[in-house]
Amino acid sequence: MKKVKIIAGITWAFICLILIIILFPGLNSFSASAAKLPFMKINPNYSGGEVAQQLIATGCTLDIRKPVFDGLIKKRNKGFVQLDWRGNVPDKIVDTIDYDLDNKPDFCIFVDRDQSKTVLYPINSKVRDIIISTPTSYGWAVRVELIK
């Protein structure tokens, strides 16, 4: 029994040695495989959610994301919708948004990029407030608070 334990211990130690030797050269492919695991995606509360609509104007695209209400187990009562303007974004943005795709406008938004000023005009009563309005590497992003 004692011998078996010794052999098992040393074998395990050598397996660990091999693991460490192959870890770094294989890191890229191990990471790529790990990235494919089902839970390896950023929570929509951080990523902003999937793009639901894309409105294209001259040189500028507006991505309207799916509203995010994700909680641990069930949907939360409070959430947000993220808007991303990409490309050649004008200094003053004025847009009317229908985030729930019911063909009725839900809110209007006005962004003055130079003054960093954002004004929200809610139409739908589920639209609450501006959570974030910020310049980004691709243009400008806004998160608008919603309730269910």
């Binding site: 909680g71 939360r76 009562n77 409070k78």
Partner: protein, 213 residues
């Protein structure tokens, strides 16, 4: 306060107070809950009775807290500042509770020794335990008292009940756990930590309340 935040806070509070209940009162209650029990069925019945009693008491407390809260906290300034102060006081108590050396002597469940009828023991324990007025219960009472609606007060107490009850579920297995002392230490430290979290929350609320008038 938002429903989600209210539930989260109350659940954490319940979880933290549950750990201290278990490591203090649990050790006293355990022999009584388990004494003479023939099997899993009996343990389950006793435990359910115990938990049900706690739930009923908590609903009564939620109603009372909210009712008195309406009268006491009708002024906006009082509503902003008093809960912050109470939070801090109770959080200090929670921390004190975790570092106090006489923790075991404070357990109200000891009174149970005076009850003779065995069938009533779980119910009696439920009452004593939920009215134990440990520091976390004070915090939840403040929470219940400052809610806008009675339903919100119920939600707070329900989440508190769930959080604190989770700890009692493995009680029947407690005899089998080898490192009880370690678990007890971690439970006490977690209680202290919860106290610190609520103290910080209290201070932030207070400063926020003062700044926002």
């Amino acid at each position: 306060m938002q429903k989600k935040e209210l539930m989260t806070d109350s659940l954490i509070l319940g979880l933290s107070s549950g750990s201290s209940c278990l490591v203090t009162c649990g050790m006293v209650m355990f022999p009584y809950l388990m004494a003479g029990s023939a099997g899993v069925k009996r343990i389950a019945i006793d435990l359910s009775l115990f938990l049900l009693t706690r739930l009923v008491i908590y609903f009564i407390l939620a109603t009372l807290a909210w009712y008195f809260g309406q009268a006491l906290f009708s002024n906006q300034v009082v509503r902003n500042v008093v809960p912050g102060i109470l939070y801090i006081v109770f959080a200090v108590m929670l921390v004190w509770y975790s570092i106090s050396k006489n923790r075991n002597q404070e357990c109200p469940a000891k009174i149970v020794k005076t009850v003779n009828n065995h069938r009533l023991v779980p119910i009696f324990l439920g009452i004593v335990n939920s009215l134990g007025f440990c520091p976390a219960l004070f915090i939840i009472l403040t929470k219940g008292a400052t809610q806008g609606t009675l339903i919100q007060s119920y939600i707070a107490f329900l989440a508190f009940f769930i959080g604190s009850s989770i700890w009692f579920l493995p009680l029947p297995l407690a005899g089998k756990i080898r490192k009880k002392e370690v678990l007890k230490t971690i439970g006490i430290l977690a209680t202290g930590l919860a106290g610190i979290i609520f103290m910080i929350k209290g201070i932030t609320n207070l400063i926020g309340g003062i700044i926002n008038g």
